[in-house]
């Protein structure tokens, strides 16, 4: 089940990025489960990773490798998360990097490993290394579709973004793919995201952009409130287009790159929500009028995580009382309930501490029947605003997650 209109787009090539997906037999036979990126020499690579204390072995290794050597390969397997696998997990992830190094002449530190899937099972290293020669042979600049499909787990559809713009007569491309459908929450989740441009951006600036963009996109989506051990988002700038390197956060090219890179992150993040496990609604929770960013996010997440609100959304029931209750328990100090205003899309539903006089149940139901719903909350105490995106909670969510391993 999925909601909203997020088709996989036509993917333009990104100069300096070759990629492919092959089948190693980790997932069901015949499904592609190993993806390889080959990056041109001179590429800058930045990463943002899960904050989970039980972060998976590949995450530990990615952070280490990013600090050491220029990255040339990204190796991603789906079907097995190599998480909570202790010391052996680290050795296993290293072995896959070493296998690429051996065949290509780069060092193992020039390879970033990623895994997504079941937690706590040993990584099937042999299966992965066995298909690396095939993957190295197959990588090509038109491999984005295959890669988008190859990183999926419980996703019902691949997620992609591709946009080009002109600058001083040169065409610059920004592409991205992502995966994730459950266990999605701030500070990332079982989500993987890969965004690449062929512009040239200095690594420190690229890292700053990666953090900033993830914070407004992948860190603002939530399906079930759970954060995974494996979340990783990688931003690549190959520098293959003949333009000066962007080294500082200013100027026209920087502004345009930032705009499109942000758009890529937000589109990929929203694509994940739209494919949320069992989702029948795409829900935007926009909190404004807050005194601080934290209190806006506290309220937004209280609403976005409430199973009572999520089941009401599933039922298309404009149960505004549950929304109000969630705002009330979000923990905002000295919240004046009489100043809070809540709109469902453009329909005012709550003001003066209760149901708005103008509101009718019919209005609420008209909004709730739609597949995309905005819950707009004004706290009436400041100028700060924050937005998060989430889904409803359906029978299907329970079915998917009760059956995942069986």
């Amino acid at each position: 089940m999925a909601v909203g209109d997020y088709p996989f787009p036509h993917m333009h090539p990104v100069q300096g990025v070759k990629l492919t997906a092959v089948s190693a037999g980790i997932k069901k036979v015949g499904r592609r489960d190993v993806v390889l990126f080959e990056l041109a020499e001179g590429s800058s690579v930045a990463g943002v990773f899960t904050k989970n204390a039980f972060c998976a072995a590949p995450v530990t290794l990615c952070k280490d490798h990013l600090s050491k050597a220029p990255i040339r390969y990204l190796l991603i397997n789906s079907g097995n998360a190599n998480a909570c696998t202790g010391e052996q997990g680290l050795l296993d992830a290293k072995a896959t990097c070493a296998a690429i190094a051996e065949l290509t002449g780069v060092t193992p530190e020039q390879v970033l490993p990623f895994s997504t899937g079941v937690i706590g099972e040993p990584l099937p290293v042999q299966k992965i290394t066995a298909v690396i020669p095939e993957a190295l042979e197959k990588v090509n600049i038109d491999g984005w579709d295959d890669a988008g499909a190859g990183i999926m787990t419980t996703d019902t559809r691949p997620k992609g973004f591709s946009q080009q713009f002109e600058y001083q007569g040169k065409t610059i491309t920004v592409n991205g793919i992502s995966k994730g459908a459950g266990m999605i929450k701030p500070n990332m989740a079982t989500m993987l995201g890969y965004i690449a441009t062929d512009a040239k951006i200095a690594q420190p600036l690229l890292q700053a952009l990666a953090h900033e963009a993830a914070d407004k996109s992948f860190n603002r989506i939530t399906i079930d409130g759970d954060t995974s051990t494996n979340d990783s988002c990688i931003l690549i700038a190959t520098g293959q287009i003949d333009l000066p390197e962007v080294t500082e956060p200013k100027g026209e090219l920087y502004a345009k790159l930032r705009e499109v890179i942000f758009a890529a992150h937000i589109h990929l993040a929203k694509s994940i929500v739209s494919d949320g496990e069992g989702a029948t609604k795409f829900v935007t929770v926009a909190v404004s009028g807050g005194a601080t960013r934290d209190e806006c996010l506290d309220v937004a997440y209280a609403v976005a995580h409430s199973p009572l609100i999520k089941t009401a959304l599933f039922a298309s029931d404009p149960n505004w009382g549950r929304i109000v209750a969630a705002i009330g328990y979000a923990g905002v100090a000295d919240l004046d309930a009489t100043k809070v205003r809540v709109h469902l899309n453009d329909t005012l539903i709550v003001e003066h501490g209760g149901r708005a006089k103008s509101y009718t149940e019919e209005q609420g139901q008209a909004v709730m029947k739609q597949a995309e719903i905005a819950i707009n909350i004004n706290l009436g105490r400041g100028d700060v605003a924050e937005t998060v995106w989430t889904t409803d909670l359906s029978y299907e969510y329970v079915r998917i997650n009760a059956d995942y391993r069986s």
Copy 2:
């Protein structure tokens, strides 16, 4: 649906407490929905209430009345929460108190009002006041069964506790009833609890006991993480047994009263969890080895609120990876994942940052098949321990909450 063995007990009378339940037609015709407690003169009454910023009108009034006059009546209606009803809600709640005052000669401030049910609908004051004469006529010392049933909303069964003990040749009784099945979370929820003893306890001490007991019981249960606007827990000491008043937290009688009053709170709280909406499992999350109380609770609630863990529990799937992931994202600073140990009941499942070597899937499944499951987590960094109780997340939970108003 309900889980575990929490039958409604034989309720001994509490000297000085008369009560009954009558039908006012707020819920379905014929169902009892108004409960009245009449307390003997000289009773001490203490209360603990929701922290929700949108607290309901009756909660506001309860707090006010408790600070003003000795309480003689408790008036509870189910079917309508009188929450988010603004100024009119307060006037309505006051009107019900006034109606009792007029018929009995007490002041309106000597009446505590409580409401539970749908949020945001005007309180049907006329229906309630119309049945007050009948209720006043019917109150009797054996009305606990009726009252237990009368305060139910989505509960599938009434919840009660009754225990007696001897002290210096006198029999002291501690009784309690509670309601609540969803929207249950720390800092209370749509839960109401009434605990009464015929011992004599000074009000300040009674208030301290009420806070302490609620904190270890009703504030440690969670079904869906939502906190309601109406939660209230009342502790009554009628003083009708001819024994000296307990005024200080010491001595044999105090210790025994505290023990039984705590037992009443914990039993009633666990009864609520066992009747959690759609519950098929009763789950104890016990966190030990913490450095602080807060971090133990953060971990316990991260686990208890995780929809991924709750759906795995529903599926009887020992998906320990999800438990580990939740511990990891609970936000404990500098958590050393390699020191964390997790048991399912007595079965060690996680140590050294991964699955325990001794663990087999069969062991985990054997535990998961049971109706009562303990997730025991040792953080390996201190001596503090905290326990919370919760349920699984089933299709039935979604059905109940998607259909509640329709």
